[in-house]
């Protein structure tokens, strides 16, 4: 709290960015129809599942008298298990995400935030508890959480490449990591192994700009990272293309095998494609997980 006035001004600026992000995410989430979200087995929930004859050990209060009055047997009304799952998100807020190769293409971080928030809204509507990895915003249910998440997503990280936050993982929860994974691969490995140790499974969404896939550069060039911490000069950029692409493919393979090892899903999303595509994949990947669980 160095200067409350500055903080206030900063907060206002941040708040001004929120509705737009929220509205776009809501709009995106509106495109996905929510299916039934039950666990397909008896448990605690709101929806009717089945009547079963009462057994020893059932509380007398559990007996459904309307059904039982139709015969001599006493029935218990079971409800479908609808226990909420905790989903933890991590969105890379590092400087490397604030990149777009063209005005028509959104920045990677923009796309990552919209996807993350849309997933948040969808899960929130499904009754799940959503939060961030780490200790900043633990998973919670309810609409206010969307606002809180949106607020957290609007914070930029000054570091060039942010390592995944792997602290505060709730055992057996699910997680979504959205990043360009350009930074140190070891931190990702650590995070995923740690998650696997705790039984956390989830989705890695690799967000890439089309120019990062194509490397369309020629001529004498000085490449700089977004934060300016790294630079690499070349006299003929076009010569680097094949070697760069090989390294990128290597990086993808590495992530893929990491995911295979830890039981995560891995997918690449390009900022040039529509956010719907990314959202549908993300949602399906999460849902597949849900069925498996």
């Amino acid at each position: 709290m160095s200067d409350p006035l500055a903080l206030r001004a900063l907060s206002e600026a941040e708040a001004a960015a929120l509705p737009a992000l929220l509205a776009r995410a809501e709009h995106l989430a509106g495109a996905v129809l929510l299916g039934a979200h039950g666990r397909r087995r008896a448990g605690a929930g709101d929806d009717f599942w089945q009547y079963r004859p009462s057994q020893i050990g059932d509380s007398r209060r559990a007996i459904d008298h309307r059904r039982s009055a139709m015969g001599d047997t006493e029935f218990v009304r079971e409800r479908e298990w609808q226990i909420a799952q905790s989903v933890m998100l991590w969105v890379d807020q590092g400087a490397s995400m604030r990149f777009s190769s063209d005005d028509a293409i959104p920045q990677k971080i923009d796309r990552a935030r919209v996807l993350a928030l849309a997933v948040t809204i969808l899960l929130n509507r499904g009754g799940e508890r959503v939060g961030l990895t780490g200790t900043a915003l633990p998973p919670r249910a309810g609409r206010p959480q969307i606002m809180a998440m949106a607020e957290m997503f609007c914070r930029d990280d000054m570091a060039d490449y942010a390592p995944p936050e792997h602290r505060g993982m709730i055992p057996h929860a699910r997680a979504v990591f959205i990043s360009d994974f350009m930074g140190d691969i070891d931190s990702v490995r650590t995070a995923l192994t740690k998650a696997a140790d705790r039984g956390v499974r989830g989705v890695l969404c690799h967000v890439l700009d089309p120019s990062e896939e194509a490397f369309p550069f020629t001529g004498r060039t000085v490449f700089q990272s977004m934060g300016g911490s790294m630079s690499h000069e070349t006299l003929k950029a076009s010569d680097l293309k094949t070697r760069y692409l090989a390294r990128l493919a290597e990086r993808k393979d590495e992530l893929q095998s990491l995911c295979a090892l830890t039981g995560w899903h891995y997918g690449v999303h390009h900022t040039s494609s529509t956010p719907q595509a990314g959202l549908l994949w993300l949602y399906a990947a999460l849902d597949a997980k849900a069925v498996a669980a």
């Binding site: 001004a16 509705p19 929220l22 809501e26 990149f99 930074g183 550069f217 004498r220 760069y244």
Partner: protein, 921 residues
């Protein structure tokens, strides 16, 4: 000067520098480009990669070319290039006088002449000669100045609509007497005129004379006349030549008041003939509308002639009583009138309502007693505007009460009831003869035949004004014809019928003469000098040399004889002159005018006007080199990645454009508004002037738009505020109009726009914002204001929204329409009275129309309004019920927009059972 083709160089030795260009090429190639700096997140993957070879890319060849071109342009520019250098003409020195005929004959070629003068001025400027101008149609002493000073004033010289007269030539000679020697360039209009040779001699004494004259054969048109049922047109040309067709256009205004070509005729000059004639047959309505004839393709005062009263035939509308007579009439009441008028006037028959818009000169009412108010009012206006109403009496007039107690405005006198009948089988006395016409009567001087007798008539009541209104009377002194003036027009009553029933007057030649004297039929007799003696004519519209009519302004009046006799000139410009009701045209050419081509003695050089002007191009080349260098700066920056972002590149390009001095034309605000309003569906509200109300209305529409966007396939863009006075309304499907007591009442123009908007399918949602406490009475200020605002609007009968109105089910099923208040009284266009509910149908079969207005007082905008972050702007109600009310308000908004956009689509569902039923059969 060195000349290469059509380009000359004033400083050719500078061109040697071009030899240095290859050296520059080598130098530029040797320097490598600066590295491009790129932000790229994937740099982490690049670290450690080495270049295969250490040769950098070279400067691209096109950049080298660009720089070379820039340098070459500088070198060429400095060498002083001149396009089309004048090499034939002798280069003189000393003052140069430009003599310009400046008559209408040169108007058609005026731009070419201006170009030729400009070229000569450029040349004079290069040679350093001073220049003076002498326009013969407006002779002023020439002032010798530098040629550049004249260049800017060249556009101010315009041709006059007359030829130089001898007086003007004399004035020109006087003007030259005080000037030293000079050379002369004479720009001739190709027509000869008196005194030209004298002037040429004078000029030749002072220096050499060169003439500029085109080979054009000047055409002119003579005043049009009306003969043999057609407009006779004559065109003349200056020199006989080959056979040639000339198209003559009759120009005038159509009934909508737009200038257009009303008729076209073609005249053919026979080979070797200098004049050609043609005739144009036009309906009289069109003929009366003609304001001028002109030769197509000729833009000069001589090639157009103005038309005046001489071409007009009077239009007479004949109107008899309504067709409610039972039996057949053996004789039309207009038989004799038609016989009398048809040779000299155009007759129109029909009802009064049909003929009045044709604006006839005279309307004849035969035995028409009463006129409805709707007929009488426009008729009175027409008379007051100068029309002439001629009425004939008859049994119907005699039997009616018209003008009995009080004088009818459309009757000249009061009438006694019944009329009288003399000399019939059941009455005493002889039929009465006419008494001679008195001195003040318009009929004075006409002979009264002895066999004209009157056996029945309507009688005038004796009144103080009667005596002065009688213009013809019977031998016993009873009035036969009375007249009064009304406004600028007059009303004449014949106290007898127009048929021979009551008198033998219509059978006699006197009847025709009387009608002529009353100017029912117009005389086309030409104006003679004697007839115009003592009259003064004031110019209304005058022609300029190009044949364009303009207001005469404060030109003085002209005496009648002078108008015909005097030649045109500054004091008598050709144009339209009026005196009283009469209009006369004074044209450039008179009926007997001829034109001849000017010839030049052999010692005068004659040139054509087609001159490729000398044009220094050094400035252009130097500008080009600067542009190329600027482009080089931008390109170099872009190549090395130092152009920060595309916006800066755009700014740089914009800067270059600004330097070019040709900024793209800014689109007008209206275009921007139209684009903003039409690129997407846009909701709009009317600006009230109250900032708070306007803000809430805009925020409300934003909230409604968001709701529509999220819930329906209607995806409106940002709402707009509409100013009724200035903005186009047609772009908006609906307008939200909050009422404030202090808002200004729209102007008449704005109301016209609003009515057009409502009629063409727009909808206005009026919101008094007072919870409808007044029930649209005048008991609340907003209600009063609404009544005041809506009074001039074209609003149909209204009713409170019925339960089965389509607005209750266009998207949501609704029965309440709350806003910030929850009043049930919302009014829409009333259903047709015969709409009935069919048994078994949930609602009535109301199929037509979107209601043009919805009127309520629930302050909907306040309920819809959202703030910048998307949250509600104003609190509505308390707790959950408040939220519910807001939700229903949104649903009302959605339904309303759906109603506007889809109309009665939901109502059509009613037909589905019937259609299915039919398909089954």
């Amino acid at each position: 000067m060195m000349v290469l083709g059509s380009i000359g160089f004033t400083a050719p030795w500078v061109l040697l520098a071009l030899a240095a260009l290859p050296i520059l090429w080598l130098l530029l190639r040797a320097v490598p480009p600066a590295p491009v700096k790129r932000r790229f997140p994937g740099v982490a993957l690049l670290l450690g990669l080495k270049d295969d070879e250490s040769v950098s890319d070279r400067t691209p060849w096109w950049l080298l070319l660009l720089r070379m071109l820039a340098v070459a342009a500088i070198i060429l520019g400095l060498a002083g290039p001149v396009l089309n250098p004048e090499t034939e003409q002798a280069e003189g020195d000393g003052p140069l006088l430009f003599v310009i005929d400046g008559s209408w004959a040169g108007a058609s070629r005026w731009p070419q002449q201006q170009e030729a003068i400009d070229a000569q001025l450029t040349r004079a400027s290069r040679l350093g000669r001073t220049v003076g101008f002498l326009t013969l149609t407006q002779p002023n002493p020439p002032v010798f100045q530098s040629a550049d000073a004249w260049k800017s004033r060249l556009a101010g010289i315009a041709p006059a609509p007359w030829q130089p007269s001898t007086a003007m030539i004399d004035a020109a000679k006087d003007a030259l007497s005080g000037v030293g020697d000079f050379d002369t360039l004479w720009f001739s209009d190709t027509l000869d005129y008196a005194g030209r040779n004298d002037l040429l001699e004078t000029l030749q004494q002072r220096g050499t004379v060169e003439a500029y004259q085109t080979a054009t054969n000047v055409l002119a048109i003579l005043p049009a006349t009306y003969e043999d049922g057609a407009v006779q047109l004559r065109v003349i040309r200056a020199a006989a030549g080959e056979e040639r067709d000339v198209t003559i256009q009759a120009q005038g205004r159509d009934p909508a008041g737009n200038a257009r070509i009303l008729g076209v005729a073609t005249a053919t000059f026979a080979e070797g003939a200098t004049d050609a004639q043609t005739a144009l047959v036009l309906p009289s309505e069109l003929r009366a509308r003609i304001t001028r004839f002109n030769i197509a393709g000729q833009r000069s005062a001589g090639a157009s002639t103005l038309s005046d009263d001489g071409l007009r035939r009077r239009e007479v509308a004949l109107i008899s009583a309504r067709e409610n007579r039972e039996g057949l009439e053996l004789l039309s009441p207009f038989h004799y009138i038609e016989q009398a008028l048809s040779p000299t006037a155009d007759l129109i028959e029909g009802s009064l309502a049909d003929t009045l818009p044709a604006n006839p000169d005279v309307i004849v009412l035969a035995d028409v007693a009463t006129l409805t108010d709707a007929e009488a009012r426009p008729l009175t206006d027409w008379i007051e505007g100068g029309g002439m109403l001629v009425r004939f009496a008859g049994p119907r007039v005699a039997a009616s009460d018209i003008s009995r107690v009080d004088e009818d405005p459309l009757m000249p006198v009061r009438l006694r009831s019944g009329g009288r009948s003399v000399g019939g089988a059941m009455s005493w006395g002889e039929p009465k003869a006419l008494s001679p016409f008195t001195n003040g009567s318009p009929f004075f001087g006409l002979n009264v035949p002895a066999d004209v007798t009157v056996s029945a008539q309507v009688m005038a009541q004796p009144d103080p004004t009667l005596a002065e209104r009688v213009i013809a009377s019977l031998s016993d002194g009873t009035p036969l014809v009375t007249r009064k003036t009304l406004g600028q027009g007059q009303i004449v009553l014949f106290h007898v019928t127009a048929t021979a029933e009551w008198s033998t007057l219509p059978l006699s030649g006197l009847f025709v003469e009387m009608l002529e004297r009353l100017a029912v039929s117009s005389s086309t007799a030409g104006s003679t000098i004697a007839a115009l003696e003592g009259t003064t004519w004031s110019p209304r519209r005058v022609l300029d040399g190009f044949g364009t009519l303009s207001d005469a302004g404060s030109l003085p009046g002209v005496h009648g004889p002078a108008l015909i006799e005097e030649p045109t000139g500054p004091m008598l410009p050709p144009g339209l002159y009026t005196s009283g009701d009469r209009t006369m045209a004074r044209n450039v050419l008179t009926q007997d005018a001829t034109i001849t081509r000017a010839t030049w003695p052999s010692d005068v050089t004659v040139r054509g006007l087609a001159v490729a002007p000398e044009q220094p191009v050094a400035g252009w080349l130097l500008s080009l080199s600067i542009l190329l260098l600027l482009a080089d700066v931008v390109v170099t920056l872009a190549l090395s990645g130092r152009l920060l972002g595309r916006s800066n590149a755009a700014a740089a390009v914009l800067g270059v454009l600004l330097l070019l001095g040709a900024p793209a034309d800014a689109q007008t605000a209206a275009d921007d508004f139209a684009l903003a309003a039409t690129s997407e569906l846009t909701l709009a509200h009317v600006v009230t002037g109250n900032a708070q109300v306007d803000d809430i209305a805009l925020a409300g529409l934003r909230g409604l738009g968001d709701t529509l966007f999220f819930r329906t396939s209607v995806e409106p863009s940002q709402p707009m505020s509409v100013n009724l006075e200035t903005d186009e309304l047609a772009f908006f499907p609906m307008l939200y109009w909050p009422i404030t007591p202090e808002q200004p009442t729209p102007s008449a123009g704005a109301y016209a726009k609003l009515n057009h908007y409502l009629r063409s399918g727009g909808m206005i949602l009026f919101d008094t914002r007072d919870a409808d406490t007044a029930s649209f009475g005048a008991s609340s200020p907003n209600g009063r204001k609404l009544q005041e605002l809506a009074a001039p609007l074209d609003i149909p009968a209204l009713e409170p929204i019925p339960e089965d109105h389509v607005i209750t089910r266009t998207f949501y099923l609704l029965q309440d329409f709350p806003g910030r208040y929850n009043s049930r009284d919302v009014w829409v266009e009333a259903a047709p009275p015969n709409a009935e509910q069919v048994e078994g149908m949930p609602f009535r079969d109301l199929n037509d129309g979107v209601t043009p207005v919805v009127i309520g007082g629930n302050d909907w905008a306040a309920a819809w309004a959202v703030n910048a972050s998307g949250g509600p702007m104003l609190p509505i109600g308390r707790g959950y019920s408040g939220d519910r009310q807001r939700e229903i308000a949104y649903r009302f908004g959605v339904n309303l927009v759906m109603h506007v956009l889809t109309g009665n689509y939901k109502s059509d569902q009613v037909h589905v059972p019937a259609l299915l039923d039919r398909l089954g059969q």
